[in-house]
């Protein structure tokens, strides 16, 4: 177990390093320095600026310095707004984290609920309806779904107010963000629940006369949960990428929207900062999930 954890952490650190390297060298490959912008700068000012941001040093040295700065939490300043990227990330991430957290909870609860219902009513009407809708949600791009939600419930019906700083209504963004993971968890829960229902210990419990709800909650659902844990890592990734889309559509100033803005404005330091931040976040979640998975199910042998 200890050996496994160490190995897993080592792998995660290597991956994070590779992400940083790819990001840094990819951005460096773009022709033109950050100060060759619209406004002409005098050579002296440019030299001073380059010295300030270590741009006069050779590229490998710049990379080492960049890594050092990242470890200190210093992502540099935005090329377009001149703001400190660390503050931008933390400010916008608090909104994204709230949104993403709610979406995770909604997706998990509803996914487990619908998945269990589908497994328990196999081949009957509720199962067929749930399977139909979960397949439909899984085959609709998130920006189409979010746009439809916005159009129908905000604009046409007027049930939900449009997002603004004073009126932060999370209902529609959370639904838009949770739809895909929810559909996936539903299908996952259904299969693992059906698998668990066919096990011998469930038959034994039923033969003993254990109440139906107890069989479901104690014997089946608990075991059906294990595969769902493995999905937490991919779910985080999907919700983070989904937030790029959803935040932009609902005009929420979260990290995802900042990232998309950075791309449209060609704000390379912002793109670098957010990419590394999001990547480290995803890799950490994956690491934790893998370790938790191992603890929860001792049957699993991970070499």
């Amino acid at each position: 177990m200890g050996k496994y954890v160490v190995k897993r952490i080592f792998l995660a650190v290597v991956t994070m390093f590779i992400v940083c390297a790819i990001t840094f060298f990819a951005m460096n490959a773009i022709p033109g320095g950050p100060f060759d912008g619209e406004k002409a700068v005098s050579p002296e000012v440019k030299a001073a600026l380059e010295q300030r941001y270590n741009l006069d040093k050779p590229v490998p040295e710049q990379f080492v310095l960049y890594l050092k700065n990242i470890l200190h939490g210093d992502f540099g300043i935005s090329l377009k707004t001149g703001r400190d990227i660390k503050t931008t990330i933390f400010e916008s991430f608090s909104i994204s984290a709230k949104l993403g957290g709610m979406a995770v909870v909604v997706a998990l609860i509803l996914g487990l609920f619908f998945g269990s219902i589908a497994a328990l009513t196999r081949n009957k009407l509720p199962d067929r309806l749930i399977v139909f809708f979960s397949t439909l949600f899984a085959s609709l791009p998130s920006f189409v779904f979010a746009t439809l939600l916005l159009m129908v419930f905000c604009v046409q019906l007027g049930w939900v107010p449009v997002w603004s700083v004073d009126n932060q209504n999370y209902v529609l963004p959370v639904i838009a963000l949770a739809a895909y993971p929810m559909a996936y968890i539903t299908r996952l829960t259904k299969t693992s629940m059906l698998d668990a229902l066919g096990q011998d210990y469930v038959r034994t419990a039923r033969a003993k006369g254990v109440a139906q709800w107890k069989v479901i909650f104690k014997h089946t659902l608990r075991n059906a949960l294990i595969p769902v844990i493995t999905y937490v890592g991919p779910m985080t990734a999907s919700i983070l990428t989904g937030s790029l889309v959803v935040e932009k559509i609902f005009t929420i100033g979260g990290l995802g929207a900042k990232f998309v803005d950075g791309i449209t404005n060609r704000d390379y330091t912002l793109i670098m900062g957010t990419t590394i931040f999001l990547a480290v976040l995803m890799i950490s979640v994956n690491l934790i999930t893998d370790i938790v998975y191992k603890i929860v199910d001792p049957r699993i042998k991970l070499d």
């Binding site: 792998l11 991956t15 590779i18 773009i30 085959s139 999001l278 990547a279």
Partner: protein, 360 residues
Amino acid sequence: MDNMNKDINSMPKKSLFSMQIDLKKFEKATDEEKKQQDVMSESVSFFKDGMRKLSRNPLAMGSLVVLILIIAAIFIVPHVVPYSYSQIITVNGKRDKSAANMAPFEYSDLEQEYMAEGGKVFPHIMGTDEMGRDYFVRVVYGTRVSLSVGFFAAMIVLIIGVLYGSISGYFGGKVDLVMMRIVDIIYSLPDMLMVVLLSVVLREILNVDSIPMLQKIGTNMISLFIVFGLLYWTGMARLVRGQILTIKQNEYVLAAKVSGAKSGRIIRKHILPNCVSVIIISAALQIPSAIFTESFLSFIGMGVQAPMPSLGSLANAARAGISVYPYKLVFPAVMICLITLAFNLLGDGLRDAFDPKLRR
């Protein structure tokens, strides 16, 4: 003769332990008896059996029909409809500026005049877009672009994944260990972020203008393919390696080795046929995933090069006028939905029909 037969037939019942031969058992078989030995049905090959199972699955068959219709449409429609994806509608040689943003089956004033004079105008089945281009043709071309992006991405994943996975699985040992650690690392890279990052970089440094074929689809799609080639094959490589490792341990492979088969023959005759169905299914499921990635890239403004449409870029462009012209979002969105749904359902059906492990 007759007498002898009678003798045989009336043979005394033999005692339990007697060595006396029951001559009845050595009579010639009658035609009727011979018929019983005939094989009732033809022997069924693995492929035929799978196809039969597939044809009993209505969802999978429906998806197959839908896909065939879509593919037929993207080849036939551009020849039938007299508009092209980038051409602004012209009536009688004149550019029709009033033809922008028309509803399905609507005709512009100029077109109505022309029709009143006896000219023929092909109906705009899905209306026109904001620049006065026929939307139906654009959706058809968008489907074509999206499907080919999906297809090429799947091919890249298939080729790299199968090569890498089979080398790793076949050689085993240290080679396998090193190759799989590399896969582990690539697998844990956040793929969407890397797609975006590489697209940002490649659109600056790639110069596709020199190659006319690539120019049409644009830098962003090239970077999409590059990213698929760099990152997305890991799942396929793991799958192939796992398949080869399990198949290698089967008794029939051992039997083939014992009877002196060379490894080339073992790979061709025993290993490949057993994992090819799984590989093809998983490659087919890459197509909707690539279409999704492309539509995501279109959303953040890094899709195919204009004026070439893709389903994602059409849907994204339609968001601007969504409250006035909702149909412009609905058509490409329904197409994306249909394609991904059909591929997923067909993939599930194929898996049920061809995966030997699922047979019980």
